[in-house]
Symmetry: C2
Subunit: 419 residues, 2 copies
């Protein structure tokens, strides 16, 4: 019995890392006034096939027919679900809408490092504002998010581009706008493809590769000026780089697009996003015409990056050791007092303490060993002295005898010591 390839078992030590990730994601979103939503894991396939995600995602769908003969798919990304939900109820929410999601997505990808078939993704989307001020909020949030993991401008940068610059370029070279999507998909893959392959794919468009390289190298994207000025005012200009080489692979992007990437190692993409001003109108047949901008970050690359950067790793380790499974361990030194111990366990848990005790008779020394391995700061020894108990502070073995009825108050006052 094995896990399917590309899927993960998250043992408690793995899950603690996930909690660290998703906790910081949620905190960053919260500081920007974003609120959390979620949608179904399974959607009608049509949601992804109808004027949507496009590109390679459609070939990677986990798609099947359910027992009710519906064509369904596990979500490969959350944006179409978000667009569907906002389109249905947008009149009930003041604009701009600031929503985020932490959810699992599924893509049948070729197996490779950092690519999984089920992954956790953080999505942030701002809807109902078409200005660069909205783009800036979202890009700034992404920068702050990455900084909260201990990553600095020496570790990552955000390449900013604008698809409208590419549309102007295509118009100039006589390419019809209906073919823009196909063309941009080639540009998106260009950096990872052999030159010959790129030239072959570009042939039908009649634009030489050199012309494209020249355009990218020109670097001027005037449409980005207000966004850059906004980021400058926030003191975040150093994190972004205008770069026409970024176009993103999803078909629904319309204007600004961006990609965060790691500056060390093989320049992996950490996150990506952009503006999709027509998706809601398309999905709702025009009834909800809201501009939108957002981004997504997956968990796998971020976890790898944290492992590679000492400052980030040490922040993570600080978090991982900060919440031990147990705060108090009851040592039952005399089995005759077990019923008393159970009552005390119940009382202290009721006060909110994380507590464990041996389920059966055990030598006292072994019980202390368990207390330490569970990370308890205090052991409470219950023995023949009942109603007196002995509290041991495990860090220095300092101990104190007191009546069990005074224990809850004593522990509450010692709370500062333990946290």
């Amino acid at each position: 019995m094995k896990t399917l390839p590309g899927f993960r078992d998250l043992f408690p030590e793995d899950f603690a890392r996930r909690r660290y990730l998703s906790g910081l994601w949620r905190e960053a979103a919260g500081r920007y006034g974003f609120v959390e939503f979620d949608g179904p894991t399974l959607e009608s396939s049509e949601l992804y096939r109808k004027k949507n995600s496009g590109g390679e995602i459609l070939g990677q769908l986990y798609e099947f027919t359910d027992k009710g003969d519906r064509s369904v798919a596990l979500r490969p990304e959350v944006t179409p679900t978000l667009a569907r939900m906002v389109a249905a109820k947008h009149r009930e929410y003041p604009k701009p809408i600031r929503w985020f999601n932490v959810g699992t997505c599924f893509r049948y990808e070729r197996q490779q490092r950092g690519r999984l078939r089920e992954f956790l993704q953080f999505n942030c989307d701002l809807l109902g504002d078409a200005t660069p001020a909205a783009d800036a909020e979202v890009v700034a949030l992404l920068i702050d998010l990455l900084r909260s993991f201990g990553l600095g401008s020496e570790h990552f940068a955000i390449r900013l581009s604008d698809r409208s610059a590419w549309h102007d370029f295509l118009a100039l070279h006589g390419v019809e706008s209906a073919c823009a999507g196909e063309f941009l998909n080639i540009v998106d893959k260009m950096e990872k493809m052999p030159v010959e392959k790129t030239e072959e794919l570009l042939a039908p468009f009649g634009i030489p590769l050199a012309t494209i390289h020249q355009f990218i190298a020109s670097g001027r994207i005037p449409a980005l000026d207000p966004l850059l000025a906004d980021l400058e005012a926030r003191g975040l200009r150093e994190f972004v780089r205008p770069d026409l080489g970024v176009v993103r692979g999803l078909a629904y992007y319309t204007g600004v697009v961006f990609e965060a990437f790691a500056l060390q190692g093989n320049l992996r993409a950490i996150a990506g996003g952009g503006r999709y001003d027509r998706l809601l109108a398309d999905l709702s047949d025009g009834s909800a015409d809201l501009p939108a901008v957002g981004f997504g970050v997956g968990d796998a690359v971020l976890l790898e990056l944290i492992n590679e950067i000492p400052a980030a790793k040490s922040l993570e380790e600080k978090f991982l050791t900060s919440v031990p499974p147990v705060q108090i361990y009851l040592v039952i030194a005399d089995e005759k007092q077990r019923a008393k111990a159970l009552g005390l366990a119940q009382q202290l848990r009721g006060e909110g303490w994380r507590l464990a005790y041996p389920l059966g008779p055990e030598k006292v020394g072994k019980q202390f060993g368990t207390a330490e391995s569970l990370g308890a700061s205090h052991a409470v020894v219950i023995g023949s002295e009942w109603p007196s108990v002995t509290v041991k502070y495990l860090a220095d073995r300092m101990e104190q005898e007191l009546d069990h009825s005074a224990l809850a108050v004593w522990l509450a006052e010692s709370k500062a010591l333990t946290s």
Copy 2:
């Protein structure tokens, strides 16, 4: 474009309720020393088909063939995944293992109130201890969990039973143990089935329905005595009721089984669980022979129950209003100061405040309206007085002018006021 039947869109107001639920689930598990794990959403179908879940779950599987020709299924429950994971690595963990999971599960159920096709489930499992002390820990945790939602002994009870009592009963009536599973499935469904149907299904076993009713009414389950004594010592005896009528529908249960149910309305089952001492050995062909006991709670029935019980509803509402989307709203009274406002926004978010501001020019009155609708406690007015700003405490419109450089400290000191 619609959500599939039995699936849910969780708009932010719905997601807040989910956060309330999963937050209290996690806190209760933490107080009992349980740590969180998770497994894949998609598993090999074999995991559920091989000596496992059994019963009606197999007929409700979301099952399909993936692009790699594997027979796969969305998890209908988490216990088989847990058993697979623990069987694989149990030597690395001290016993008893106390793990919990909060995860979505999928069952193609007939559409009815409180039954969804994708639902969130809380699972708690204690592995490596076969004694009633372990059963008591898990039952006590379930009781505390339900109490943390404001539910008391007037709202719910836990029916406790033991499958071994049924096995003795069957042996007494000459039914082979291989047929026990099928027989217990009938008993499990009996309360909801017409008498004629039950009698028809029981015919092959040669045990009259009256004999079964008599056995259930006898009520004596001596095997439960140590568990009841343990709960008594904790002060939790009033929450449980020995009741042979409970057998649970899953094929893998071996000993104690239990079911929490609502005492008002139609006595819905809120949670269920039991002992499954052979599942790990079965899944690992004997290499990991660990006894186990656990339970699961779904979100749908619990959310319904909270709605019906005023004490529970008011606890929930207290939580829902305790964390407004935004704490501070920047009112930009003079557009010329927008760049300063952006810098200040960045600084205050860096201090951890949840903050928003208008993305474009807006009348000051409208900005104050937005501040209030987002739940901000403070508005910071940035205008021509810069570098001075005015802080307004929105509850009573008390205001104070101060230099923007002193704002962060001022707000930090006022934190007690706002939370």
